[in-house]
């Protein structure tokens, strides 16, 4: 699975993007596999080879390489939008056959609103700042935009890769259509009525979830998993939110360095004494150190915040699986009771028997696959955390060392001068 080639951004937004600070250079390669450690598989390889950002939507180019007989060609590409990904995800969720699997969580909607707003505000405030400041801030915002863009591409790609790696889901017909059909799938986004239905379904589900989770499970494994997942999910949620705030503060501090650098530069060019060289050097230092600080913030965002966010979604998907299993257990128990009643009344016994058998089969099938899924989930999780934590530590070290060297060099020059 190759990494994404450089995404193209809509002309309206990006001029002079090339001179922007290089936000995510060699780390891009790992971007896609940030949160999941998937085995590459010759039978079916999927990736997003290109992406285009337009006014209000993003177009992803989904590229497939496969040796499976199901496809007409061995290698092909189609263009898909976010709604089509959601459609695919929902089709999995609604499919009863997949009740026993953790459905890979849907990628979040691409959200450039905040970034766009900032760019717009910058445009409006152009008159009030120096040309230099304006260029600096524009570069900054463009880099931010680019980073968000790359992230959303990565998240859509991870979704597809997870599906492709799953032994059962990869055979899904909808998935193949998604990959191959080179026309628009015409999946309109859910209209208001459908969204409302979804809302109610979720409400019922969570109410149900409360009822159903009250049922004590005979199986120790599942009992343990349930307790674990409930707590874990909440804590991941909390950690993800706090990590977000932390990276944002980091970024704000980096932005301040930018302004300080500009002010020092102005001081340096206007001062009449011999301190102007000094100011100019310190201004340069702040500019450079700011780039590093911005990278630190971005890397923390990628390796920590994104990781936590992803596992927030996955743990929710795992919880959903448990819920479905509990639901089927309840159905099974109800079917048992119905069978007993039917036998007692000696009425519709055969019907009750078949019904009970179906429920039993369903329950056992779900239980079996769920067990494997949950074990896989743990393996994936541990691997992803390990990879990301190691990379986080390595990046933090790299940046701190870079920063240190910058500072020491600057101090050497300054001390040498005075």
């Amino acid at each position: 699975m190759r990494a994404c080639a450089g995404p193209r951004l809509g002309a309206a937004m990006m001029e002079g993007l090339d001179d922007g600070p290089d936000f995510l250079s060699e780390e891009d390669r790992g971007l896609k596999a940030i949160n999941v450690d998937l085995q590459s598989d010759a039978a079916l390889q999927v990736d997003i080879s290109d992406a285009l950002s337009e006014r209000d939507k993003v177009k992803f180019t989904v590229h497939t390489k496969s040796s499976l007989p199901n496809f007409k060609q061995n290698e092909f590409s189609v263009v898909r939008q976010h709604e089509e990904f959601i459609w695919l995800h929902d089709s999995f969720v609604e499919n009863e056959d997949y009740a026993g699997y953790i459905i890979p969580p849907a990628p979040p909607r691409p959200d450039f609103d905040a970034s766009r707003e900032k760019l717009q505000k910058l445009g409006e405030g152009e008159g009030s700042m120096t040309k230099e400041e304006f260029t600096k801030m524009k570069q900054e915002l463009e880099a931010e935009y680019l980073a968000i863009f790359k992230k959303t591409v990565a998240m859509h790609e991870v979704f597809l890769c997870r599906v492709a790696a799953h032994p059962i889901l990869r055979r899904d017909l909808n998935f193949h259509v998604f990959l191959e059909y080179n026309q628009d799938l015409s999946v309109r986004g859910k209209n208001k009525k459908e969204k409302l239905e979804d809302f109610f379904k979720n409400m019922v589900k969570s109410a149900d979830g409360v009822i159903v989770s009250g049922v004590k499970d005979v199986d120790d494994f599942f009992e343990h998993e349930r307790t674990f997942l409930l707590e874990y999910h909440n804590r991941v949620k909390d950690a993800s939110a706090k990590s977000d705030r932390m990276t944002r503060s980091h970024k704000s501090a980096a932005d301040d360095y930018n302004r300080i650098g500009s002010s020092l530069y102005a001081l340096g060019t206007q001062d009449s004494t011999d301190i102007c060289k000094f100011f100019l050097k310190v201004s340069e230092l702040f500019d450079k150190t700011r780039k590093i600080e911005a990278r630190v913030s971005a890397d923390e965002d990628l390796k920590l915040s994104d990781l936590l966010k992803y596992y927030l979604r996955e743990s929710q998907a795992a919880k959903d699986l448990l819920y479905r299993r509990s639901r089927s257990l309840v159905d099974y128990e109800n079917a048992n009771k119905a069978l007993d009643k039917a036998r007692a009344k000696n009425k519709d016994v055969l019907q009750a028997e078949t019904s009970q058998q179906l429920c039993c089969q369903k329950f056992e099938k779900i239980s079996e696959s769920a067990k494997q899924e949950l074990i896989d989930f743990k393996t994936r999780r541990v691997a992803a955390f390990r990879k990301n934590l190691v990379e986080l530590a390595e990046l933090e070290l790299k940046h701190a060392k870079g920063n240190l060297q910058l500072l020491q060099n600057c101090l050497a020059v300054l001390n040498g001068d005075t």
Binding site: A239, K242, R245, S249, S252, I260, A266, T273, D274, L389
Partner: protein
């Protein structure tokens, strides 16, 4: 300030110093002529020293002239200063070489070469100017032999009458002080009182008196009320540091260092309470009114600036002021965000610890706990860095913003001085016209009166001119000194600040290096 009239002993170094001098306008002929001493008859060693403490109301312009000229000889940074010195006359006019004075010449000449501390006790009584020179010399060489510390804030009293007392410790080898190390207890209003006295004596003749730290009614009220939270301890620390910097700046000023009020402030155990410093007192309100009046006057004075140097400098300071303010805003934002970062990192650390607890894979659980610990340590780092951001960088900037306001004030005083001179000239003109009229009307008694008035105003015009020249001269010197100090200050503090950044990065490296093997150990 000393009423010392003794000219400097003319020794080896003297003539060369005059290389730096430019146009020898005899601006001070009249002044010099009032000096009783002549070069060939230097006073004996027993010249009374009581003059030193006599003038607690500030120097008279004439005395200041002499001192300043001495300092001029050694000051480097003044640009295009048209120096003149009464010493020129002694040198030029004296035939018998006055090089050897009855006042032990070796000890007088030696100070310039040897260390000040040796010379100070010997010659201080005789000639304060020598001490001044030496201080100036040493200042150029960066050894200023007096160190001030402000420490141990202590709350005294209770309720709304409570106040903080600070210990002011002085370490010095200057002989003007009776001991070499001593400390006193002072409260904030004492500092304000000191500044008010110094300002009233020196500002209007052109000296840049460092401004005192600002009052803060909110901050103090919290302290008085007894809130023992972090914001009031922060406030007290901020104030303590500001008071220390204020005193250090004040003693660095060679003229102010000589001031008896300053000495009294540093030395005497009891200080009369400065009551006129309360914000809402009668004196406080009067000050506010005066400030407003000044502002209006400034707008209406249209000065004929004959000296481009002043116009240039004023513009420069205006620019500098703007730039510093802008920078200050950014640095304050940085402090704020860094504090935020620290708080958020701490919150994340706790959250990560919880996550580690609930993680059922043992190795991962351990790694997450380690991560939480690292983040906690990093949070501490951020906090310390925020302190450095503030106390070094941000406070430096706000100090200088206030100092520049003082500089601008001094320029304004010069304008007022000019205005006074102008007014005197106009009045003189009127008096002359009146006299002419009297002549025509032939009223002998009125004529005499008119003549008297003319003489009076002629003297005033002369005085006005002298004052104006004097303040211009002082300002030039002061600005030169100020700029030098500014450059030094900024360089020192910014380098210190960068070093704090270096430390933070070094610590970060240590922490992450410790964590990396833990992360790799996840199996």
């Amino acid at each position: 300030m000393a009423a010392e009239r003794e000219p400097p002993p003319l020794g080896d170094g003297k003539p060369t110093d005059f290389e730096d001098l430019e146009d020898g306008e005899d601006l001070f002929t009249s002044t010099v002529s009032t000096l009783e001493s002549s070069p060939s008859s230097p006073e004996p060693a027993s010249l009374p020293a009581e003059d030193i403490s006599a003038n607690s109301n500030g120097p008279k312009p004439t005395e200041v002239v002499l001192d300043d000229d001495r300092e001029d000889l050694f000051a480097e940074a003044t640009e295009e200063v048209s120096l003149d010195s009464p010493e020129r006359e002694p040198i030029l006019s004296s035939e018998p070489s006055p090089a050897v004075t009855p006042v032990t010449p070796t000890t007088l000449i030696a100070p310039r070469i040897e260390s000040k501390s040796m010379s100070a006790p010997v010659i201080f009584d005789r000639s304060r100017e020598e001490v001044q020179e030496n201080i100036e010399e040493e200042a150029n060489g960066d050894i200023f032999d007096i160190e001030i510390g402000v420490s141990d804030p202590e709350k005294v009293g209770d309720g709304m009458n409570a106040y903080m007392a600070y210990r002011v410790t002085t370490k010095t080898s200057l002989s003007m002080f009776s001991k070499s190390e001593f400390s006193v207890k002072r409260r904030f209003s004492d500092f304000l009182g000191l500044h008010s006295k110094l300002a009233s004596k020196y500002l209007h003749v052109g000296y840049i008196v460092p401004p005192a730290p600002e009052k803060s009614i909110v901050g103090m009220t919290k302290v008085k009320v007894g809130k023992e939270d972090s914001s009031s301890t922060e406030f007290v620390e901020k104030r303590r540091a500001a008071l220390e910097r204020y005193l250090q700046r004040t003693v660095k000023h060679p003229t102010l260092l000589q001031d008896p009020d300053l000495r009294q402030f540093l030395e005497s155990s009891e200080l009369p309470r400065a009551v006129n410093t309360q914000a809402l007192s009668g004196a406080g309100i009067l000050r506010m009114v005066n400030k407003a009046a000044d502002a209006v006057n400034k707008m209406t004075i249209k000065m004929n600036e004959s000296d481009a140097w002043f116009e240039e400098k004023q513009q420069q300071f205006e620019n500098l002021d703007q730039q510093l303010r802008k920078l200050h805003v950014s640095v304050e934002a940085l402090v704020c965000h860094r504090k935020e970062l620290s708080a958020n990192t701490a919150a994340f650390a706790k959250s990560a610890a919880m996550l580690g607890n609930s993680e059922d894979h043992t190795a991962l659980s351990r790694a997450l706990s380690q991560l939480a610990e690292v983040e906690e340590k990093i949070d501490q780092l951020h906090q310390e860095q925020a302190f450095a951001d503030f106390y070094m960088f941000s406070e430096l900037l706000s100090d200088y913003i206030r100092l520049i306001a003082a500089v601008k004030g001094v320029f304004d005083h010069r304008m007022k001085c000019w205005q006074k001179w102008e007014d005197a000239q106009i009045t003189l003109l009127k008096k002359r016209e009146a006299e002419a009229k009297m002549m025509v009307a032939n009223k002998p008694d009125k004529i005499q009166q008119a003549k008297n008035e003319i003489r009076e105003w002629e003297a005033k015009v002369q005085q006005g001119e002298r004052d104006f020249e004097q303040i211009s001269k002082t300002i030039r010197k002061e600005v030169g000194r100020f700029e030098k100090e500014r450059v030094k200050d900024f360089k020192t503090v910014i380098i210190k600040y960068l070093e704090s950044l270096v430390q933070t990065q070094q610590q970060l490296i240590k922490y992450w290096e410790a964590f990396l093997p833990e992360a790799k150990a996840i199996a």
